[in-house]
């Protein structure tokens, strides 16, 4: 293993989350409310209450994940007959229509991504709680992956808003949005907030204690 590199925290420096300015921890007023001398953002060695916030948001997202997948996200009403679609049945319709690449895309964005985000976040949280020293670099990469893919789950929501806007032909065909869409959007937003509140440097703190 490589020799440990110097870190700002060990040198008594605090890195500003907003502008990246380093400040000497000793020269700052103790307790809370220390502000970055350059940009004025409040300074913390780690994001405050990172674990508790991330847990809360991730658990909320996990609960909403159930209605998001069981309730219909939209109903296509054609000649008076309605056919409710859930996230999964939307993918099945695409497969039945032979649109494989699109089905894969929607499956990945709407089903794989939320699961990867939730499972990944819970794993990261647990590994920090257990002070795991196992493959911190890969765990940081996992965090960056979660940050990167988060927004792409919104594809289904945007597709529904387009269909609702376009398919308004009275008795011939309309598309009505369903309650599942709101839950699903809430899952996306909550997991994005959860990954934002997680501080990836917590993954490395276990290695500093010896």
């Amino acid at each position: 293993m490589k020799a440990p590199s110097p870190t700002a925290a060990r040198a008594g420096l605090i890195n500003c989350h907003a502008c990246g300015q380093l400040s000497r921890a000793r020269e700052l007023p103790p307790s809370h409310g220390a502000a970055c001398p350059r940009c004025g953002a409040s300074l913390h060695l780690r994001k405050p209450n990172s674990l508790a916030r991330t847990w809360a948001l991730a658990i909320a997202a996990a609960i909403l994940y159930i209605p998001a997948n069981t309730l219909p996200v939209m109903t296509v009403v054609s000649f008076g007959r309605g056919e409710p679609d859930t996230i999964l049945s939307g993918v099945q319709t695409l497969i039945a229509g032979g649109m494989w690449p699109l089905a894969l895309l929607v499956f990945f964005a709407s089903i794989t991504v939320p699961v990867v985000k939730l499972v990944g976040l819970v794993y990261l949280l647990l590994s920090v709680h257990l002070k795991s020293r196992w493959r911190p670099r890969d765990r940081t990469a996992l965090y960056r992956l979660i940050e990167l893919i988060g927004r792409w789950s919104m594809i289904d929501i945007f597709m529904i808003s387009i269909l609702v806007a376009l398919v308004r032909l009275g008795s011939i065909a309309t598309v009505d949005p369903g309650a599942g869409a709101t839950s699903f959007a809430a899952v996306v937003v909550l997991t994005m907030l959860a990954s934002e509140s997680f501080d990836p440097r917590l993954v490395w703190d276990a290695l500093e204690e010896r």
Binding site: S5, T7, A18, C19, G20, Q21, R38, C39, G40, A41, L94, G97, M99, L102, L105, V106, A109, P136, R137, T140, A141, R144, G150, R151, W152, M154, I155, D156, I157, F158, M159, S161, I162, L163, V164, A165, L166, V167, R168, L169, G170, I172, A173, D176, P177, A181, T182, A185, A186, V189, M192, E196, P200, W204
Partner: protein, 182 residues
């Protein structure tokens, strides 16, 4: 740091800093281009949907208004925020911060405005929206005729320009202005 050099975190390999030449000028030019494309994308129709002699046209905001009209106000607010408001604020914010700096002045509330810009980055989802549009088009193409509108093309261009603006922006140039004048 030399021109076009990069610095990475010694522990996790994340990109810390990359030198970007002419950052202010390039980002400003792209932000102005982006605002023009933004107006085009919102004024012209996105596409026209034709089925059994009837047709329906939509602009970018129609989806938001329809969601709201059908009682899905939370969803309407979210879609409006990430597809229209956040990109607009991002482009306007870039101009607000960079134009005075270019002219040698300091914009009011610079640190706050610039921090807000960095937060906006994650909530502006134009490229995801575009993919949603494409999925909707393919779904509808089976049963109806879809005619793409002007806004669809300007929207595509806007995504490229906004990505380029983000890539051209060197945040440290802006933060260093604060030091010089403090």
């Amino acid at each position: 740091m030399q021109v076009r050099e990069r610095a990475r975190c010694a522990r996790c390999g994340a990109l810390l800093y990359a030198h970007k030449p002419d950052s202010l000028e390039r980002t400003l030019a792209l932000a102005v281009t982006g605002l023009i494309l933004f107006v085009l994308s919102n004024v012209y129709p996105l596409m026209t949907f034709e089925l059994q002699g009837q047709s329906q046209q939509n602009v970018l905001i129609t989806g938001v208004l329809q969601l709201y009209a059908q009682g899905m106000w939370a969803l309407a607010v979210l879609v409006f925020g990430v597809s229209i408001l956040a990109p607009l604020l991002k482009l306007a914010g870039l101009l607000y911060v960079l134009l005075p700096l270019k002219l040698g002045r300091r914009p009011w509330l610079l640190p706050l405005a610039f921090r807000a810009l960095e937060t906006l980055d994650r909530w502006a989802m134009l490229e995801v929206y575009m993919l949603g549009v494409l999925v909707a088009i393919v779904k509808l193409a089976d049963i109806a005729t879809i005619v793409p509108g002007v806004a669809l093309y300007s929207f595509g261009a806007l995504i490229v320009v906004m990505a380029a603006a983000s890539a051209a922006l060197d945040a440290s140039v802006v933060w260093e202005h604060l030091e010089r004048e403090a």
